[in-house]
Amino acid sequence: MQATPYGHGTKWRGWIYAGPSLILFALFMVFPIVENVVDSLYRNGVPGLTLFNYRAMLHDVTFGIALKNSLLWLVLTTVVQMAIGFFVAVLLESRIRWGRGLYRTLLFLPMAITPTVIAIVFSNIYAPDYGLLFGVFKLLGIASRFPALLASARTVTYAIIVVNVWQWIGFYVLMYSVGIANISPEVLDAAKVDGVVGWRRIWYIISPMVRSTHMSLMILGAIQALQQFPLIYLMTEGGPANSSQVLGSYIFQTGFLESNMNYASAVSIVLLVLALIVAGVQLLVTRGNFAIGGGTRS
């Protein structure tokens, strides 16, 4: 056995401990990714390696829409959820004296509801003629101006993003609440003594102190946005005319509805690369400084 600074055999012991995880990682992560790349290099039903699928993507209008929408989802959901989540958490932690737990629970509740139910409920809320939102417009006497949000290519993606934000906002509030609760009271008191109150307190004291939570939620938000599929499939099937398609829903459509698994593999590789770029940029920016629930761990 080779000696290490930690003693004889420690190096091998480390490999033995890590081995099972590494095998599982290789089997369920590395192997599928490699095979997925290989599959993407075949044309459906045609033998021989080719870049056909990647070339086809360049001329595929629906792929372009899906890519654009995925990026829109990535930016909008992450930014909006973080902004609202942060300010609601600040409000909860600094202004709400009683029932804080109840508010947190109520905000968290949508996360416990299955996307199927959420999709049905919001489809009804958005529906012209008989939907809840239409009812509000009617009450205000502006029914004729009611937009068919899910029927228009211009609004459909935003309408579904709103639903996603509504569903996830509780999670962001909870994470920020934990982060804010972890800030030392002495720091906040000292800021108060120095006259740092109101917006300046939020901007210069609280926000930097929960930086690690910002970073964690940014990564989680990005992953969740890129994973998006159920709400879109259930509310619009990617329509009308593919206008709400994202990469996730397009993979399902091409792979499972149109039976073109090779093309779906190629699209999934693009999605994987996109996710890696986003994660890489975020890791570079944060230098690995992130934690769930705040704190100041680096």
């Binding site: 529906a127 459909v156 599929f229 159920p230 099937e237 005319a241 996730g248 698994m261 999605l271």
Partner: protein, 444 residues
């Protein structure tokens, strides 16, 4: 190996991993004869009928064959498709799988047993006469040229048409329309009375396709049937005219506002069941609502509901002829042939599902129309339901195909029709786009 990797890698490599893995995670029970206590296990997977109906079917078959144990897995359609792919890739398909006609059957054709000889054994040499011809030809939709085998046989068939609320029509002194102009004026009158005139869930692909096919059957039935079979004629004048007529439903305010963002199921169906919709494009399966304990009285008796075929879209055209075919059917996988005992038991279960106690149980819940001729519900039904049922049974015998063989073409048709409805594409351009994809698919 390549097929294993296709699904595994796609399922696990990218960010859709959770969703796909969930679908792949269904444990595949052994499809071999499990000789526990001399019982043979037959595994059956499907997305339909609903679990409660399937459980009742299984109970009846197991009661009839005490030596057979049936293990089922019923999942929503999207999950089912993923589970099937994963199982096929790993060679662990169950003995019997639920299939729709066309692309799904074709996709699993290499894993399925040709059923012609088995059908002859189960129902005799004249077995083809036992099924509606439209359903049988749909069962073979997409077969390679010269392949006359059938790999799925239908348990239930369907006819598509327009349902209307008779209460609303009576209340407003309306009659079922005999022309598009009357249909439009009926819809407007119903809307004016505070109901939804004609509900169309145009966000749901099947119903967009079916509505278009009902129109195109009036304008160019031959071109439609050829195109559906895979001989593209989407740019024929009649096909373009049908796309224009489809648009009229939106521009003339026949469909409800925002129809492109609406779902036929569950939203539209719930509204229709609640008596808030005047007309809706559905089909023979709507009869099953009469057996739902939660249905209102008018729906339980179907007294509030009636049917008509899409009336002529313009002078000189005829009303849409009956259109329909396979609702769902079953295929026997190659896995079931690995052991004689399982093959025999699988054949028994297969027969019972299509023409025995299985279908009888389903039929008694009015799930849809029986594919096998001569079967009839044994429950008590009022004369109105019986009349609707028998009309449908007669119509399915002469029905024209309501499915498009190639799923990529079907998807292209739907998205282009949505563009036409949204006004972002002309009917001619839309059908050109469909034709282009259809030709590319034909050549690939």
């Amino acid at each position: 190996m390549i097929r294993i990797s296709k699904v595994l890698s796609l399922s696990l490599a990218c960010s859709t991993v959770a969703l796909l893995a969930a679908g792949c995670g269904n444990s595949t029970t052994s499809n071999q004869a499990s000789a526990n206590h001399s019982k043979v296990t037959v595994t059956v997977w499907s997305w339909t009928p609903v679990s409660s109906t399937m459980n009742a079917i299984v109970a009846k078959i197991e009661q009839k064959y005490p030596n057979i144990h049936i293990q089922t897995n019923i999942e929503p359609n999207s999950d089912y498709l993923i589970a099937l792919k994963s199982a096929a890739a790993s060679g662990s398909l169950p003995d019997i799988i639920g299939l729709s006609a066309g692309s799904v059957t074709q996709e699993y054709r290499p894993d399925l047993q040709p059923l012609n000889t088995i059908a002859q054994k189960l129902w005799g040499p004249g077995w083809k006469q036992d099924f509606p011809s439209a359903a049988l030809s749909q069962a073979m939709l997409g077969n390679p040229a010269g392949n006359t085998s059938t790999y799925m046989l239908p348990q239930e068939v369907e006819v598509i048409n327009i349902w209307y609320n008779r209460q609303i029509f009576q209340q407003l002194h309306l009659t079922p329309p005999t022309s598009f102009a009357q249909l439009a004026s009926d819809a407007h009158a119903i809307q004016k009375a505070g109901y939804i005139g004609f509900y169309e869930g145009a966000a749901q692909s099947d119903f967009v396709q079916w509505m278009y096919m009902q129109i195109a059957a009036q304008t160019d039935l031959r071109g439609l049937e050829a195109s559906a079979r895979g001989v593209p004629e989407w740019t024929q004048p009649g096909m373009i005219k049908a796309a224009n007529y489809w648009k009229d439903f939106f521009t003339d305010g026949v469909f409800q506002a925002g129809a492109l963002g609406d779902q036929q199921y569950p939203t539209g169906a719930n509204l229709f069941a609640a008596g808030r919709v005047g007309m809706m494009s559905l089909g023979s399966w709507w009869l099953q609502e009469s057996q739902m304990s939660t249905s209102p009285q008018g729906l339980k008796t179907m007294q509030d509901y009636g049917t008509f075929f899409l009336p002529p879209m313009a002078p000189g055209l005829k009303a849409t002829p009956p259109m329909g075919g396979v609702d769902f059917g079953w295929g026997m996988t190659q896995n079931s042939a690995k052991s004689l005992a399982v093959q025999k038991a699988t054949e028994e279960v297969f027969k019972q599902l299509i023409s025995g106690v299985g279908e009888q149980t389903s039929l008694n819940q009015m799930n849809d129309l029986p594919a096998f001729k001569g079967m009839t519900p044994t429950i008590s039904l009022n004369s109105h339901i019986l009349s609707l049922y028998h009309n449908y049974l007669a119509e399915i015998q002469v029905a024209h195909n309501h499915e498009i063989g190639n799923p990529t073409v079907a998807q292209a048709l739907v998205s282009n029709l949505q563009s036409v409805a949204a006004g972002t594409e002309s009917a001619a351009a839309a059908m050109q786009a469909v034709q282009k994809i259809a030709v590319a698919q034909e050549n690939s």
